[in-house]
């Protein structure tokens, strides 16, 4: 999911990347990297959030210095997916660099320099696989041409390895020794440069350890709050507990009396709608250290005008939402005639599914550092997924040209969508301006849980019609949840096409009569996107329902779902949708919705998990399959009862088809982590509101799974594929949820219709 972004530009229908040699002056202007070496830039195009083609400025630079140092700029934010490793390694592999000696430098947030840096929607590898290869290949081609000329031999007799050009006759020259020659060379047309054969890659398709592993194990990795600036002050903010509320008055006397507290500053919020990039209304305590700021905040006296959300109860709203699903909604997809199917039914199964608000609870609570200078410029250090949005929002808040905002990106201590939103970065900027000093804004865990952009609570009702022969002849899916769009525009009271496109509207099964409907619900808090977004609740409802239908028919759920896909085909939902199908920003001809690939992961997971045998052995296993973010995933979860009767998850099998697996170790790690993340969504986590306020304060109230409850063995089976690579950050979550629920049903005999399920 992405917000509308002012920098996105649409032009040039040719989806081509361009590799170029920037002039030295341009490069120095563009980059803080000082180098006497050879520089290569790449710009290229890809699809935007609505499928439009976007041309970007240079996204990556490779530099080769005369001392043979190869530096690759990472322009995406690292929040745990390994992208800071996986994109540069693609360049390095094509180039023939010595990976163990490659230096990776984090790009600052700058659209003109690096193009799109919005690290979201599991699309970094999908977008940048080709351009990264072309960049590396272009540089390799130039190095080989230079060495061949030097040796007086044909370029075809040379290849690169370990940062050297090597001839078939055994001559070797370091990249660094060719730098002066490269500087005077014409660059070849990157479109004609030959890419390496896949089988010759040494990094792509392999397990590659993350670049930052050593620093992380030594405590040297720098996250948002880890930057120290001379004279820096720390701010902790008391925000209005109810979204949309305002400060009526406040008394800062006691706060200012706390040793170390220097000033108290009011921050103005946007009111209603609260906005996706605006701070909430509050009062900040600015102090010499974090502890003093926290203590000062504790004794602030604030009288709030709580506003229109002060009586909001999430439980009451959920009841209303659920009730609404039994009426007629807004039809968003229609195939055949569901009513006719219903009239001719042999059996109707009707079930409802509800899921709560979820908070992101990144281990690093939001924090950002700003230094607003007296000369009308500002420098930021922030753990942001979306550097350019943060830069733009800061510029707007400070009424400054965005070019005067320098945006440095730290590592992110978790993101999951929370750190796309720049509200906390804007707070730091406003407070630095007020304090006339560098300021770090530090959110506490309570702040994080009370003032998140939550995954919306949802209610769904599915009516499944079996005809007189027992075939699934009708599917009526009602879904209702406050829309993300409502956070910026209160008039948005239905789930958007984008949100329905996340695993609901693209119901892929061969059912002759389908009707998908949405209902109204207002947002009374800030709604955002959480790892896999609406796929979370859609996959839960659809896959739990399919399991129940299979049971009603007396057939194996894996066979049932497999056969329900009928023949292999590409789906386009033509003539059935009332709105747009986003396909995660990609045209369907480039990334088709292919049922063969969905069947492929079903077959693979059933085989690898030994599904039939597990069933005959009486194991409690659950199955689900779900495509999201263009990646096909099937999952089988096994559960059993622990010694205290608690549910434990001894084994999980995933089959994933994400096209070419670029860094297989990070694919596995995303699935391992995704299973854990989803276990929390099923078993432990929920945010609720009473009187407009969040009722959970810390990890005692908002619980996430810990090591003893975590799935033990997680097997990730990656389908061998040469299809275009797609992302893996989010796709592990959706199918795991219903697979676990279906497994728990086998164990306990109780179906799960409401998350979280507490055993």
């Amino acid at each position: 999911m992405m917000p509308k972004f002012p920098f996105l530009k649409t032009k040039d229908p040719e989806n081509k990347s361009k590799v170029f040699v920037p002039s030295r002056r341009d490069f120095l202007k563009l980059s803080s990297l000082a180098t006497g070496g050879f520089i290569l830039g790449v710009n290229f195009q890809c699809s935007g959030p609505k499928g439009e083609l976007i041309t970007f400025a240079p996204n990556v630079f490779i530099t080769i210095d005369s001392d043979n140092l190869v530096t690759i700029i990472a322009h995406r934010s690292e929040m745990g997916t390994g992208i800071r490793t996986s994109l540069p390694m693609i360049v390095a592999d094509e180039l023939g660099a010595d990976w163990s000696k490659v230096k990776i430098v984090q790009a600052e947030g700058d659209e003109e320099k690096y193009g799109d840096q919005n690290t979201d929607g599991s699309y970094s590898v999908r977008m940048f696989y080709e351009p990264m290869r072309k960049a590396g290949a272009t540089a390799r081609h130039m190095l080989i041409t230079a060495a061949a000329a030097k040796w007086g031999i044909a370029a075809s007799e040379c290849h690169t390895e370990d940062a050297q050009v090597v001839s078939s006759g055994g001559k070797k020259i370091k990249f660094g020794d060719l730098v002066e020659q490269l500087k005077t060379m014409e660059m070849p047309d990157p479109e004609t440069v030959t890419l390496k054969d896949f089988s010759s890659y040494k990094l792509i398709g392999k397990d590659v350890a993350i670049y930052d592993a050593h620093d992380m194990a030594k405590g040297e990795a720098k996250f948002g709050a880890d930057i120290d600036l001379p004279g820096m002050q720390i701010a902790v903010i008391r925000r209005c507990p109810v979204v949309g509320g305002k400060v009526k008055s406040f008394n800062d006397e006691k706060a200012l009396a706390v040793p170390g507290v220097n000033r108290v500053v009011k921050i103005e919020g946007a009111g209603i709608p609260p906005g996706l990039d605006k701070p909430l209304e509050g009062v900040a305590v600015i102090a010499d250290n974090t502890w003093a700021a926290m203590k000062g905040r504790d004794v602030l006296e604030i009288e709030w005008d709580l506003g229109e959300n002060q009586n909001y109860s999430s439980a009451k709203q959920l009841e209303e939402m659920l009730k609404s699903t039994s009426g007629n909604g807004q039809v968003r997809r229609e195939r055949g005639n569901f009513n006719t199917a219903q009239q001719a039914s042999g059996q109707i199964i009707e079930r409802t599914y509800v899921a709560p608000f979820y908070a992101h609870a990144t281990m690093e609570p939001p924090a950002a550092i700003a230094h607003v200078h007296g000369d009308g410029t500002c420098e930021i250090w922030a753990p942001t997924q979306h550097p350019q949005w943060a830069r733009q929002a800061v510029a707007q808040a400070l009424e400054m040209d965005y070019q005067n905002v320098k945006m440095n990106i730290t590592l992110l201590g978790g993101g999951f969508g929370r750190k796309s939103k720049p509200d906390f970065v804007v707070e730091a900027a406003l407070l630095s301006k007020a304090a006339k000093a560098p300021v770090r804004v530090q959110w506490t865990r309570e702040d994080d849980l009370h003032h998140d952009f939550y995954h919306a609570q949802s209610a769904q009702r599915i009516r499944a019609v079996l005809d007189k022969n027992g075939n699934l002849s009708g599917w009526n899916h009602h879904t209702v949840f406050p829309a993300i769009g409502a956070t910026a525009n209160s008039a948005e009271i239905h789930p958007s096409d984008g949100e329905l496109g996340l695993g609901c509207i693209d119901f892929p099964y061969e059912v002759p009569n389908i009707r998908i409907e949405t209902h109204e619900s207002k947002a009374h808090t800030r709604i955002g996107w959480l790892r896999s977004v609406s796929n979370i609740h859609h996959s839960f409802a659809i896959n739990c329902m399919l399991d129940e239908i299979a049971e009603a028919k007396g057939v194996d759920p894996v066979d049932f779902v497999f056969n329900l896909l009928a023949e292999d085909k590409d789906l386009d939902f033509a003539g059935e949708l009332k709105g747009d199908f986003g396909n995660y920003g990609e045209p369907l001809d480039k990334f088709p919705w292919n049922t063969r690939r969905l069947r492929g992961v079903i077959e693979k997971v059933a085989q690898e998990a030994n599904w039939k045998k597990a069933l005959t052995d009486g194991k409690s296993v659950g199955f689900a399959v779900h495509k999201s973010f263009l990646t096909y995933v099937a999952c089988i979860v096994q559960v059993e009862k622990g010694s205290n009767g608690q549910i434990i998850i001894p084994e999980v099998h995933y089959a994933v088809d994400c096209g070419i697996g670029v860094n297989t170790d990070r694919i596995r790690s995303q699935f391992e982590g995704g299973a854990q993340f989803a276990t929390s969504l099923v078993m432990t986590s929920a945010i609720t509101f009473e009187n407009g306020r969040v009722q959970q304060n810390n990890f005692d109230g908002y619980q996430v799974i810990r090591m003893p409850q975590s799935p033990k063995k997680i097997h990730v089976h990656i389908v061998d594929s040469m299809e275009k690579p797609t992302g893996v950050g989010e796709p592990p979550v959706p199918p795991f949820i219903p697979a676990l629920c279906n497994a728990i049903y086998k164990l306990t005999g109780e179906r799960i219709y409401q998350l979280p399920f507490k055993s």
């Binding site: 690292e78 391992e672 810390n698």
Partner: protein, 152 residues
């Protein structure tokens, strides 16, 4: 303001601060040692774990006035050059995803190995239950601890 002498990673520091300041903020804000992380402020997540003598404590909820003459070990002092068996195992198993909680995990595991150099899987699970990893690296953490215990 009170005066304290702290021994952190074998080095003495004279500090003047409020007596209720948690050790975490002393380390991070006053001594500028950023390896120890803030996660919850209530001893619920373990991101801030350091050793007090050989015991793992949650520094976010441990006032400086309680430290006394016990010596403090943080991630920066666990080893020279990051070569503690746990740190090596963390790299070998490529444990971290975002990496934020990992210094707390490593320090907590270090305390575990000091009192039990050959923990079973279930002993590891219960010893590490206080440390949350939201990225979900639990299985690799477990494997890394087992690997480290073999060379410990």
């Amino acid at each position: 303001m009170e005066k304290y002498t702290l021994v952190v990673n074998g080095k003495k520091h004279q500090i003047e601060t409020e007596s209720d300041m948690p050790l975490l903020w002393v380390l991070r804000d006053i001594l500028s040692m950023k390896g120890t992380k803030f996660g919850c402020g209530q001893a619920l997540c373990g991101s801030c774990t350091v050793l007090l003598d050989d015991e793992a404590i949650r520094s976010c909820a441990y006032p400086i006035s309680e430290v006394g003459d016990q010596s403090i070990t943080t991630i920066e002092g666990l080893s020279k050059d990051g070569n503690h068996p746990l740190q090596k195992a963390w790299v070998d198993h490529v444990v971290p995803q975002c990496g934020y909680c990992q210094t707390g995990q490593i320090m907590n595991a270090a305390a575990l190995l000091k009192r039990n150099s050959n923990p079973s899987e279930s002993e590891i699970e219960s010893a590490m239950a206080g440390n949350i990893c939201r990225c979900g690296t639990y299985n690799r953490i477990k494997e890394a601890i087992i690997t480290a215990s073999k060379s410990y």
